[in-house]
Subunit: 673 residues, 2 copies
């Protein structure tokens, strides 16, 4: 073990982020058995338990935080999400069902409705008197919300909207609270009045009576058993000419007067639609946080086990090697610890940005777009990483990792859906990619085409310089005699930043060039876009990694303790260099790294991992979860006890006269004799 230790307490406090106190309070709640999942419960009992748990949250005033003070809330948007995120440690079903009720259903009333709606429906939504479903997704249109087929047609005679499902593909699907508990729903439908379709709007629609029976015209089905999250009663809903009063239109961004005339504060139907959706970004933000927490939990279990478990003896006849001393095991777990730190710091930035926008502190159109891009870039990475981290952690614990009592499969199955809900990850990254293209294009907004052409020629020239490896060769000649120079290059944050940034720029330039070449014919443009889809999505992913790198690097600056700072710097380097290693072919093929430098990279990462190894336990302990959160037998110390007992047995045996000699050693000494 190294002599210097990191300051675990200070680091733990930093990792709690900008809402540390709220997060701690929520973790304390998640540590209580009555709010946790009982893995023995079948679906029906699990659903009932989670509904009860929502009631406990209401009683303890744990859900009001995001709402206006006039309704007993605190107008604390960032803190509210931090609080909900931590419920993932109790049961992801609880986190998501709470998200459905207070984030989506009540959130739609709050953000899409106006004062009258708030007064009328928010109190009962907040108190759970009205459990509600968020009826946006249709079975035929998952991520393509603009294309939902449910209609809300205004009837001037009765001053009502007629909500209607025209065919089976338009059934609302996968809605939490729809199968059993929901009494009302916020329904997204094409608003049609006076023969004009004004696009998707949201309506407050009662769906069940006091006895839990569907109201007239409303029907549905239970989704039944799912891959996970079985504490939530997901289901389908459909509407057959269901009439609601005109005032049930949540009319903040678009209204219909009694005479059927439509008005909106946002002229462009496209921008109006994205503005409405943008108010619901909190779902994505909180999934980013919850997924990062799940990764922390998995790693805290797996690293603890890897520090106790011994397997095979390589350097000693009497003591087997601890798993985490194996290079491969370090590769498997410590690179993921580094990534999880990056994800955690990036999430804190996202929460800050979210709070700035929703509190109104920084709430321009551009701020909202930045927030949405940030969420769309980070949520895919953290949710995919959570699955990858949980799975690798489970495998790193071998057969024990497969036992339900060690938690991994349960977490994996619950988190699985995070990668495709609140926006399919690939669709979200494509949104980010389009934003990158727009930003790139906006650099030329005021230039004439001649200037654009010159810029492109310059880019091509620069790319050609890279392509022919001239930079690369330069690196090669400079470095070839000294591996240390190569290491110095890689650990320089300016170089890390340059590599991570140039990769995005170069890919975006490439896609933009292909789109420009395709011209304005819609079919040709769509074909060109599709032919570059994979590249554009990879640029978006790279953008997310850069955001994480920047957050991690900014977090380093805040660390006081020198030992902690040094170790965390290694960890940031492992994160950055693993990201580069994962795409090493690109950096080489495009002349951003020399062959010589590229060859030294894996070994340099290995050396950093070996340096981090003595700090591994401290690094995961700083995540701050307790045994009540981990709830895995193998993280309890049981493995260390077993190993100690075994070693003690053999120690005594060797000291006694009864120890059998091995045939192998007899043969060896026989051969010598």
């Amino acid at each position: 073990m190294s002599e210097t230790r990191i300051d675990v307490n200070a680091l733990a406090e930093q990792l709690l982020g900008p809402y540390a106190e709220v997060r701690k309070a929520s973790r304390a709640r998640a540590a209580r058995p009555e709010l946790q999942r009982d893995p023995s419960l079948p679906m029906d009992a699990h659903r009932a338990r989670v509904l009860e748990q929502l009631g406990i949250l209401v009683q303890e005033q744990a859900v009001q935080r995001a709402f206006p003070t006039e309704f007993g809330g605190h107008d604390d948007h960032g803190g509210s999400l931090a609080s909900f995120e931590e419920l993932v440690a109790a049961d992801p079903s609880l986190q998501i069902k709470a998200g459905v009720q207070w984030g989506l259903f009540a959130g739609a009333i709050l953000h899409l409705g106006t004062a009258e709606h708030h007064a009328q429906w928010l109190p009962d939504a907040m108190s759970l008197k009205t459990p509600g479903a968020f009826a946006m997704t249709e079975i035929g249109h998952g991520s393509d919300v603009a294309a939902v087929a449910t209609t809300a047609t205004y009837d001037e005679d009765t001053e009502e909207f007629v909500i209607h499902t025209p065919f089976k593909a338009a059934w609302k699907e996968f809605l939490g609270n729809a199968a059993l508990h929901g009494k009302a729903a916020t329904v997204f439908a094409q608003l049609v009045t006076k023969g004009v379709n004004h696009g998707v709007h949201c309506f407050y629609v009662p769906i069940r009576d006091e006895n839990g029976e569907f109201l007239r015209g409303v029907g549905g089905e239970d989704d039944g058993l799912k891959g996970g999250l079985n504490g939530i009663d997901n289901g389908r809903l459909h509407f057959t000419n269901v009439r609601v009063p005109r005032t049930n239109l949540l009319n903040r961004y678009g209204d219909v007067a009694a005479d059927g005339s439509y008005t909106s504060p946002i002229a462009s139907p496209g921008r109006r639609f994205f503005t409405m959706l943008g108010t619901l970004v909190q779902g994505r933000v909180s999934l980013d946080g919850a997924a990062t927490s799940a990764s922390k939990i998995a790693l805290q279990i797996a690293v603890t086990y890897a520090n106790q478990r011994r397997q095979f003896n390589s350097t000693s006849d009497t003591e087997e090697t601890t798993l985490l001393d194996y290079q491969r095991h370090q590769r498997r777990l410590l690179t993921r610890v580094a990534r999880t730190y990056a994800s955690s710091f990036a999430h804190d930035d996202l929460l800050d940005k979210f709070d700035a926008v929703f509190s109104g502190r920084e709430d321009t159109d551009e701020d909202r777009q930045d927030l949405e891009t940030l969420a769309a870039a980070l949520k895919p990475l953290s949710t995919w990483d959570a699955l990858d981290t949980i799975q690798e952690s489970r495998e790193a614990c071998g057969g024990s990792g497969y036992m339900a009592k060690n938690r991994f499969n349960q977490l994996y199955s619950d988190l699985d859906i995070y990668v495709t809900f609140e926006g399919d990850n690939n669709v979200l990254l494509q949104l980010v990619g389009k934003r990158l293209l727009t930003d790139y294009a906006s650099e030329f907004r005021k230039l004439d085409t001649g200037a654009v052409a010159r810029y492109v020629a310059k880019q091509v020239g620069s790319t050609a310089l890279h392509r022919f490896g001239l930079r690369g060769v330069g690196q090669s000649f400079a470095d070839v005699s000294d591996e240390r120079k190569s290491a110095n290059f890689f650990k320089d944050p300016a170089n890390q930043r340059a590599l991570l940034t140039e990769r995005i720029n170069a890919k975006v330039v490439e896609v933009a060039g292909a789109l420009r070449a395709a011209g304005k014919d819609p079919v040709k443009a769509a074909t060109a876009f599709n032919e570059n889809q994979d590249l554009l999505i990879s640029a978006a992913r790279d953008h997310g990694q850069l955001l994480r790198w920047e957050a991690f690097t900014a977090a380093l600056a805040k660390i006081q303790d020198p030992a902690t700072k040094e170790v965390l710097t290694w960890l940031r380097d492992v994160f950055a260099l693993s990201v580069i290693e994962d795409d090493l072919g690109w950096f080489l093929a495009n002349g951003r790294l020399s062959m010589q430098r590229a060859r030294t990279l894996p070994e340099y990462i290995n050396r950093l991992l070996a340096r981090l190894r003595p700090h591994a336990q401290d690094l995961v302990d700083a995540f701050g979860y307790t045994q009540e959160h981990l709830r895995a037998e193998i993280s309890s110390g049981i493995e260390g006890q077993r190993q100690d007992e075994a070693m003690e047995y053999f120690r005594r045996l060797r000291a006694s006269d009864n120890a059998p000699v091995s045939e192998k050693s007899l043969r060896k000494s026989g051969a010598k004799a």
Copy 2:
């Protein structure tokens, strides 16, 4: 759609491999509901159901195939595995519980026991009169079987072995049939006689009486709920001075006479141990097959859905784009179709090799070692790939992929354990890596050290040539004017083979060089080995990919139909080039590819995928599973019906006078006016 179609029937027949008839019969069985999993059953009922299903297999003579004709078997080793593998389509729990009973428990009696043992125990093991556990793994020693701590000490006075568990880490763990159904166990323990430990041997030990009560000295625990495979009653066993007759030692490879003297046909304790373990290789072989089948099932579901599901409109106002027309979706699914083909053909070779050894046709020590290496190289790849393929397939089906009725999560959870049982994947790959090192070293066995030094110098020279990119630059100058030349390079199988082979050789040379430099001091040698562990494991993985490539390429030669041959050649190219793309950084950094060629690779793969796209459904239909095997609502055509109904609705609406106009188009025409 392309005009030429592949010959699906002929391809399906080829994919069934060398045991086509046996495989079909087993698939017919797997299509019967009474042999399938009922997802609604909780653990206890699921366990009881699978036990019953084993009884059905016995009644239908579906389990005897591998056993000697004198016991009613067919001595058909390869066919037996093919038959068991297909049970994964019914329920992985059924496949694995059958594997425990007839592959492991009865297999140990057959392969480690001798004639008397066969006569005494095989009939009841075959008929399931004696359900049995295979008690090898200990909680403290997963993959390190040589280190199990259970002892079997010979007592000359009573002519008995005393089976004993000295401490908690030595409890036998994760054993199928141990929690409930097992009446006996084949127990692996350190054989001690006359004060000498002769290493791990296997003993037949009765564990429960007719009433299911543990016999005296035997104890255990139920493992309870697992991440999956909950139709199997896994549990722990421990032994407190349990006495069994001397003749309960399964004595094919080592025996103890009444007077306690030990004899073995294999002098070296190490080689004896590996020979014993080698007889149990069938577990790994069958997991390779079952995992490949699971990938086929997942892809058949996901590709079918992707061919029906539409989402977003890019080129048409009235028709949305089919998922599989998106480049990213092709990347996600079709690269995995290619890999699954490669895995399927490689598995056929593995089955052939397995049958050759176990039938005695080709059964030298070297054949056995080759078989073990082959199994250890392929099983990790196919089991990891199965998890990756199932997960990507589930995500490609969005929220629908998460519903239990669409099967993915169930398959994933069951297959999860395949990556760490019958040998942890990383441990298996390390074995392969060591074999690669041995083979490399054996090239020098007869050379003096001077020659070795010269060889190494030559290698270093050649590597240096690569390192300075001289080859690469040569490629660059040759190709730079013509992308087609680059494509011709990549599709040439000789180049594919050379790239895939050189990568392994170069990595092995590098590791061997580091080990040689470390010298013979055990601690230094172990340190050097650990510092190269990740590289060595990656070389082993590369070796597995080469084996798959060779199997795929050999399979192409057998295809008669020209259209099928052409399409399958593209598919082989996608497999090979995806493997190269995944490790592109290595090929560039080590001068095996020029920058120019590397840059053209992703686009060339994309073009191949677009060419394959019209054949996607045929390619997965050739896997040959029916709706009875897939059992996923979304593979039934339901999505196509929904889409057709929706399109028909809009067609009619457009043709009528009632179609609302969109505000967007009004604004556009308004702007024009």
